[in-house]
Symmetry: C2
Subunit: 682 residues, 2 copies
């Protein structure tokens, strides 16, 4: 606690000197960076970096590192794939994976790679469509124009993907055009014990000693993609003080939210998720204790929950810091006063904050219903997700593209199909455990007297219901899913599958609360956030960056340590440190490959390092490149102080944590004997 | 959320008309109550009520209801005993318990009953001892005088217990003298399914349909106690609108805390407990899913955790309500201004608030260390608790009484012996699960680099350590514990028992952080809270009640409904309602005894009811009596709106929830055929 509180105080005092910002690829503060670091970053550099960077659609970043479509990302970004390719007999998570030849590379059932090939400003189109509208009509127009614009852009949605991206909470709209790749194969992954050495106790901490690396390859028409743009590997890696650039896809930040919105998080939503995930963590931990196979199949879920939980606790701590919170309030008041002092601005934008505050009150009232009837709808299970998507898709596909729920518009169909027809294994025991948990929470949160709860649990306990759904459904068979998907509404209505019927029984209530939220709350929030964004441009200028939106950004910084509890933290660790931290007991147990090959290693090789780049969840797998645009590292974490980054960046202690390029090469070469890969990279 | 937020707004506007207050038995607002309800409550009435009321030392309330020492309390207050008396073959929790004859009544291994026989004001003694002192000397003097006063009072601590009670956070000190009874036997308990019908989903809700009743009997010299003071059973029970009085032992309230202290709760401590208990809840839930026996042995723990968790979430919600929180701040500012406006008062008391604020800052800094090194020290397990107590007692008993840690002073020895030499079963599997959980949290919270963490986990994972401690210890044998207890420091030092050695290895760090807390933080907080209490008496008068301290209080109110989401809630339910709510699936499954005997019941008999009495955790098991001092009910819960009662009482919706006297009799008679008991009560 102490550190976080102390450091956040410094926030607003120093931000003008900070390496702050998740900048747009087409709006980078080159002159500011040149002044600070003496490095010229021109648009050609940026365009090359853009095309060399990729997004893992399921929630991570990565980069091309060879002309044959080889992509570097984190182990934890490919973790789900590695688990899906494993069986009880062959556990690639525990043992690692290495394709000795091209033919040994195996397809990941659910990975999708996006490469950003074009950015178009569509602010005017969007503004024109919504001009003069508020409430539901505003929201409908926004959705329809988004769907239309995306469809017109991606004429072939199998290979292209187009997203209308809302920047500055609506201050700008850009159309992002991506190449879409769904044939992605696993090339290399170290053992989980080495990738996530230190486990949850060390997560979000520094110093670190992790090789959180996986290599995957994009295929096109059955052959490795010829990737013209890729980052070359640096000959020496990054040294302390050297400028570093991180391209990647930060997921979400909330630095531009109003105080009313931040208060809702602090007072309601964060606590609710902390309680939920903590309990689920307990369930999954004890589930894993049942045996080795249960541990294997729950590993990815448990890792994800623990990682999210730690991040969310960090957010809560940041918002619970009184001094920090009040500094945000002062900033907001400054902006409001500027707007109020100009009658024209005031007339146009003055009411935006109070409108959002009113909408937030309404949001608090429906929060529980919205969460449990709609937002947690797939209950973190494969089967419920499939059932819901089949039921919803059938109904949505009957509608014109512009009127569909946004996840069923034409441009979203390839991802939908990928997940519905995935060959990934489904584990009954885990599905039952997850459903039992979520059903119980469903009842707890909506209360026993809610009509839907009464209906669902009138004849079965949560656990009995979970068991019968999982045991009796046919949705585990891909051909059954395919038939239902192709069969449309008629097939769904005629289906006797208990899971389809269950999903149908929830759908009306689920849609109703979502509609209420979108029409009455989200529409107000979006409209007024757009107003605030415009007001901010007018009052404070446009020399800034938008909140993160899981779209490509670039941040600048340098290899830099920091102080914690008065102690100086060195920015670079070495391979030797990993062996010093090894106790032989999970999660501080290096795998056999490391222990056996220790003598071959140059133990003074840099292993992990910290930089002052401004990153957040979603940046996992981002390349760290030097001024020459060469790979010097691989972002895999932030330190504990970076967790407040959701709401503000503190340059004195907020650090990105990366695997060093030299450490990766040394391990690939000497520990894993991955000559083929090393040669390809070099 | 909605309800809680709305209702708390009303708080300060109406409190002067409220049935608010957990009043002292020797300072009851009789004239106010007479004015409001036309009921004369004189000191004789109060003295009889005091002697008829009892405390369950482990954390509940109860009352004598016959001249043969029969005590009425909640099922959930005797739950642990019922579980301890059960075996895998004979599960009294699931099946219920009834002693058909006196000889069938079975001793509870860990129950202690306290009857408050005398109250003496020792404010002057305490004030004299601490006069002019601050910091550690103040705190030492307070502790020494407490230990001395208690020892002098309880010359025979086996049968008498004396506690110095701090009232108004130090505004007054009273010496409470109790008769102490440790021979307490189980007489009757219904099935858990009936006692806790509706389970966690219905907990803290109303309407309710629970027979949360157990009957126990105090024995003296091997025979039933002749209890001269007891509550008679009402002939008709309470009707809507009728005045009701609740005597009992509310555990803790925080209505007099300063804003700095409340902020620490809102920002830090409550969330920390919510996360911990949520995760433990998940662990225990999944542990219970392993099988029937695991479910049985974890039941009491899980129930306790779920109950606490719901209560703590309610507290967090109350403190997160901005309007409520700011109203508390206004109240504090009014008091501070009054003190500041009087130079003499200001000199004496003016700095108290800022002194506490400074201490709170320091408290936040050591919160994690204090929690994990000392406060969670027994990790909710039997074995670690025993090991710790043996290790500590041996060291403390070497010191003079006045210098001991407070839980090892002479007056506390009987409880200590009771728990150390308890015959209650210890379940290895549950102990291992709990220790694994807490060891993991211990490492997570103190971090992997903490020297003690490094030392403890250098050679074992949390789970391996838990297993080896539990499997290898001899502390499961009562004679081993007794020998170590009697053997003192020498025996402890020579012990090879791994759990004793483990407890020893933690003791130095554990004592150090506690010492830091007591000497540098608690001493400041206590001293200044005492000042604020005196300032409050001067500025606002003494016509008030102190925060709850798990000592006997009386509250007044009436049988009264309330409004929730605009809907009127009737204050009384009937037996018919239980059958209507029955689905046959846990936790909405009435036991066979109810279903089989349904036809014998008068279904319109009142079952549960709500009253406006001001209660809180610790009041569980409290009798509800009418103006004539007759039993009309048994408090077992509060509604969800009562959870904010920790910080303030809202008369419009804060309700105590009780089992109706008529419902209890009807069930005892017609369902359980408990003629012997019914005759004794009647």
């Amino acid at each position: 606690m102490k550190t976080l509180i102390l450091t956040l105080l410094a926030l607003n005092l120093t931000s003008s000197y900070a390496d702050e910002g998740m900048w747009l690829m087409n709006d980078f503060p080159s002159s500011k960076v040149e002044k600070r670091y003496g490095t010229k970053i021109d648009q050609k550099w940026l365009d090359h970096a853009r095309l060399s960077s990729v997004r893992l659609a399921q929630g991570c970043s990565g980069s091309f590192i060879s002309p044959q479509g080889l992509i570097m990302t984190n182990h934890h970004c490919a973790h789900e794939c590695i688990e899906q390719l494993s069986t009880s007999g062959k556990d690639f998570v525990a043992q690692g994976f290495q394709a000795k030849t091209l033919e040994d590379e195996v397809k990941c059932p659910e990975l999708e790679i996006n490469q950003l090939v074009k950015i178009t400003d569509v602010t005017e189109t969007m503004n024109r469509a919504t001009q003069g509208l508020t409430g539901k009509p505003y929201s409908d127009a926004l959705k329809a124009t988004t769907a239309k614009t995306e469809k017109e852009c991606a004429t072939n949605s199998e290979t292209f993907r187009c997203d209308v991206v809302t920047l500055f909470n609506g201050g700008k709209y850009n159309l992002y055009e991506y190449k879409r790749y769904q044939d992605v194969r696993l090339v290399f992954a170290p053992e989980f014990a080495a990738a996530f050495f230190g486990g949850d106790p060390d997560n979000f901490n520094f110093p670190r000693y992790d090789i959180d690396l996986s290599l995957i390859r994009v295929y096109e028409n059955g052959a490795p993609l010829k990737s013209e743009n890729y980052f070359k590997w640096s000959k020496s890696g990054a040294k302390p003080g050297e400028p570093t650039f991180v391209t990647g896809h930060p997921g979400r930040t909330a630095r531009l939210l109003t105080m009313a919105q931040l208060e809702t998080r602090r007072d309601l939503t964060l606590m609710s998720v902390i309680a939920l995930y903590s309990e689920l963590r307990g369930v999954l931990t004890e589930f894993s204790n049942r045996g080795a196979e249960q541990k294997r199949i729950a590993n990815d879920h448990l890792f994800g929950i623990e990682n999210s939980l730690k991040a969310i606790k960090g957010k809560f701590q940041a918002l619970s810091d009184k001094t920090f919170f009040e500094s945000k309030r002062r900033d907001e008041n400054v902006l409001i006063q500027k707007i109020k002092s100009n009658p024209k601005w005031n007339k146009e934008y003055g009411s935006a904050w109070s409108e959002i505050e009113k909408a937030e009150k309404e949001y608090r009232n429906i929060f529980t219903a919205l969460t449990w009837l709609e937002n947690n709808h797939d209950f973190d299970t494969k089967l419920f997700g499939i059932a819901k998507n089949l039921v919803r898709a059938a109904a949505e596909f009957e509608k014109p593209n512009e009127q569909r729920l946004k996840e069923y518009t034409e441009s979203k169909i390839p991802e939908l199909k990928q997940s519905l027809l995935s060959t990934a294994p489904i584990y009954d025991e885990l599905e039952i455990a997850m459903l039992t948990f979520y059903f119980t929470k469903f009842r707890e949160n909506l209360k026993a007297d809610h009509p839907l709860v009464k209906k669902i649990f009138a004849k079965k306990s949560p656990r009995d219901l979970a068991k019968s759904l999982v045991n009796d459904t046919e949705l585990k068979k891909i051909d059954v899913r395919e038939a239902l998907f192709k069969g449309g509404l008629k097939a769904i209505r005629e289906s006797k599958d208990p899971f389809i019927q269950f999903a149908l029984s929830m759908d009306a209530d689920s849609r109703a609360i979502r509609k209420k939220y979108e029409d009455e709350i989200e529409s107000v929030t979006k409209k007024n956030a757009e107003k605030i964004a415009k007001a901010r441009f007018l009052a404070l200028g446009t020399d800034t960056y938008p909140d993160a939106t899981f779209t490509l950004r670039i941040s600048y910084g340098s290899v830099e340590g920091y102080k914690e509890n008065g102690k100086k933290i060195n920015p670079v660790t070495t391979l030797a440190g990993a062996f010093e931290r090894h106790t032989g007991y999970e999660p501080f147990a290096l795998p056999a490959s490391w222990l056996e090959n220790k003598s071959k290693l140059n133990l003074s090789t840099p292993f992990n390092f910290a930089t002052s780049n401004d990153i957040i969840g979603g940046n996992s797998g981002s390349p760290v490149v030097n001024s020459a645009g060469e790979i010097v590292g691989l972002v895999f974490d932030g330190n504990i102080q970076s967790l407040g980054g959701d709401y503000g960046f503190d340059p004195t202690v907020n650090r990105a944590v990366a695997v060093h390029s030299e450490g990766m090469l040394e391990a690939l070469d000497k520990i894993y004997g991955a000559k083929r890969i090393v040669n390809e990279i070099k």
